[in-house]
Assembly symmetry: C2
Homo-oligomer: 475 residues x 2
């Protein structure tokens, strides 16, 4: 069985089903076909914009029956091409962007039910209005949507304390590849009734179904938050600082981000409106701790940093004196991807390694990249507490990524080979999409890959759900 | 294809493979065939006790080839019959009790790798020796083993803060139903490379493979812990007390257990060596908060309880003055199942409901039980913070469970119907096993059940892995 292009009758049927607001095609479809770095556009026979779960189910059912590919799309912010199909018969792009209801907010249950099209910042606001915290946060929070965040198991800056998207999801409603609806929106903390299909669909990047809504976990809002910008001598020193802080602050450490000097150079160069950094050093850490009323996390963080400075475990530190200053620290961190995009990377990598191997990853990774071409620059930053680095490679000052485009493959191979040798992951938080599907074949566990293919074939025998994402097409 | 009994040659082959310590049969097999309440015994053609993952893989491979059932068993403490097959061709019982190595403890990574046969208390001790906490804890911690805890996604008293077994597992090694080995022991915090087979196997109760080892998450040891025993007027009052404490203490609330007066009566009656309760009331809460050094959780808990007493939100409270007193509070909580076992329940239920529905569950559940038979007594206790109640039904004082055995089915139906009507789960933390497999058919989502059956058939086409558990045999 193979995927086919939809017939004109099929498309007319979808138009009838969805009504005038419910579809786009031709030139009008363009906004639903791009990827955030502007590198390519996807195909679409039509962009379907269902208004509710019933319409999603009917679209998927019809596509499965007709063997038409379905490419789900939420915010379209994914960085690995999971939201765009660039060859083969044109698919139905299934956009969740009209399903933007927050169905319920229940402060007593610490749960919020959001449809797949809700933008992450709107989830934050709804939680805050109920005096609660939804802790998933990342640079694209103003455009990323719930469905995409879950289908890629997004990470971000709160993982150290609160976990990834999957850890923050109590239940999901999803349309399975046969068009049936999985009703799993319970907000229960404990429910051991059968296989956890929630976790199977989360992170499967639309290849096993379409998540249409999610019950998300809320947390008490921290009553006290302390934020520090710390200069350290090296990635080793950054890694050694974390257990020091955790020893003093326990689970109160809520973020621990590594930032290299090049990141600040790029921000200064590309984003003149960004705040000035509180201090600059070859390596810096943005650390945050938070707790309940009376937890005195500010004092504890200050004491821990004073001890670290005295012991030579940190070189300098600035603690934010107010919320505005803390927000400025965070804005610097969150502008890094934007500045990087403007400079233009030769190759970007989202990798995780064991904490102990992280300094080696930075050092040997730079060596490996320079072996490919001496002048390449590495802007390496990320969520050190999670062992997660964004290891992005840039052309020499004055050159452009186009000048070095021919080396991108060799750079990525060198970086990923090192990650694999260190026992790491070549996709920490972005997923595999289509760009990294081959890497699963190269670096993955053969037993895992076989089991994944068996599951895919069992749930999606027609192979219509986001073909080519996660699981590379077999020759 | 159907399951068959192993031939004498097949069994001889296993004996050769495993060596003299590696198998038991006949009367010698009895210790591996019981269930903890002594209600029944399982079948076994042989008990295989492999020494390592390679042997597990070879056993499973041979069984799949010969269509012989495999019933995995770890500590054997499960309460739903997942570890015992009582009819059909006798299976190979695959005991993990010789795989007791803690392969590594890595304080810097906050990770520990334990084989499936490691007893939970030994995991606790290994973590403590590295100045870390492994927070999964439950009454059977002295005999429950890692493999069983994961295959049932065990819960326990730490879920409120730290999550269920699945939330505490970074990676697994498992033997899949075809005998291949899934190598997934990475300790990475972030790894989005394909479907999360870890979460699929966790909670699948041995029906999709055998977990042979797990990388478990460790946490900073709390430097300060405060424990309180609180009298409250009702389950409503207990539920209302929790957000009060969390508002004051944030994420520092690490346990919140409901205890009814009947639980203490049973302990006094059956376990005279147990400590005296610090105070007794119709309903009580055992609350714990913990944090890092300087978190002052003791002060914060005391202040929060003082406010609650003043506001009439609690009736009385005793804060443990030292570790021994805190341990005595906890021992009372943990002796409840043992005392219950000695009294002998007519029917036991492990249910979860939304927090808001929990008081109704207690009240209407008692009404429903009394409608079946007026004199029945309910000992309802559990993890209120998780919405998880152990709703256990006992005969009238002076009668035995045998006198009321004929009513067990009607009692369970009444309780589970109520749970379902309240949007709850009929298995919160014990799993479905064989006792509750039919309940999934009755109360479960049809789309979920179909998807589960498709996955089972894809990964275990011969149907040898723990047949009849989780998924009831189809007629």
């Amino acid at each position: 069985m193979s995927i086919v292009a939809p017939t004109p009758d099929f498309l007319d049927g979808l138009r009838d089903l969805l009504g005038p607001s419910g579809w786009r095609d031709g030139a009008d479809a363009a906004p639903w076909l791009d990827e955030p770095r502007g590198k390519w556009s996807g195909l679409a026979a039509i962009v379907a914009r269902p208004a509710n779960t019933g319409e999603v189910a009917e679209i998927v059912r019809r596509c499965a029956e007709a063997r038409v590919a379905v490419v789900p799309r939420a915010g379209g912010t994914g960085l690995v091409g999971g939201q765009t199909l660039v060859d083969g018969p044109p698919p139905v792009v299934l956009s969740l962007d009209r399903m933007t209801a927050i169905r319920s907010v229940d402060a007593a249950e610490d749960a919020l039910v959001a449809e797949a099209g809700v933008i992450l910042e709107h989830v934050h606001a709804a939680a805050e209005a109920a005096d609660r915290l939804f802790p998933l946060s990342l640079a694209s929070k103003g455009s990323a949507r719930v469905g995409g965040l879950l289908s890629t198991n997004a990470g971000g800056v709160g993982v150290l304390r609160y976990g990834n998207a999957r850890d923050l999801t109590l239940g999901i409603e999803a349309v399975l590849p046969d068009g049936s609806v999985l009703h799993g929106l319970k907000t229960l903390r404990k429910d051991n009734t059968g296989y956890d299909l929630r976790h199977l669909l989360i992170g499967s990047e639309g290849t096993l179904g379409v998540i249409t809504a999610a019950a998300l976990r809320l947390f008490p809002r921290p009553r006290e938050t302390a934020t520090a910008w710390v200069a350290v001598a090296s990635p080793e020193a950054a890694c050694a600082l974390l257990p020091r802080l955790r020893d003093r602050l326990g689970g109160a450490v809520s973020a621990f981000e590594l930032i290299g000097a090049l990141a600040l150079d790029f921000i200064a160069q590309e984003l003149p409106d960004a705040p000035a950094p509180p201090l600059k050093a070859p390596w810096m850490v943005l650390a945050e701790a938070s707790g309940g009323a009376g937890a005195r996390v500010g004092e504890a963080l200050e004491e821990a940093l004073a001890e670290a400075l005295e012991a030579g475990a940190a070189d300098d530190a600035v603690i934010a004196q107010n919320e505005a200053q803390a927000a400025a620290f965070w804005r610097l961190r969150e502008e890094i991807p934007q500045a990087n995009r403007r400079v233009g990377a030769v190759a970007s990598h989202d990798v995780a390694v064991p904490l102990a191997a992280l300094p080696r990853m930075v050092r040997e990774g730079e060596d490996a990249v320079r072996k490919v071409s001496q002048g390449l620059r590495v802007n390496c930053f990320g969520h050190v507490g999670d062992g997660n680095l964004h290891f992005n490679v840039f052309p020499p000052d004055g050159a452009t990524r186009e000048d070095f485009a021919g080396l991108a493959g060799a750079v990525t191979r060198a970086v990923h080979d090192l990650v694999d040798a260190l026992g790491g992951s070549v996709s920490a938080e972005h997923g595999l999409g289509r760009l990294k599907a081959d890497e699963l074949v190269r670096y993955g566990d053969p037993a895992k890959l076989r089991a994944m293919r068996a599951i895919k074939a069992a749930l999606d025998p027609a192979g219509v759900m986001n073909p080519g994402a996660v699981l590379a097409m077999e020759e």
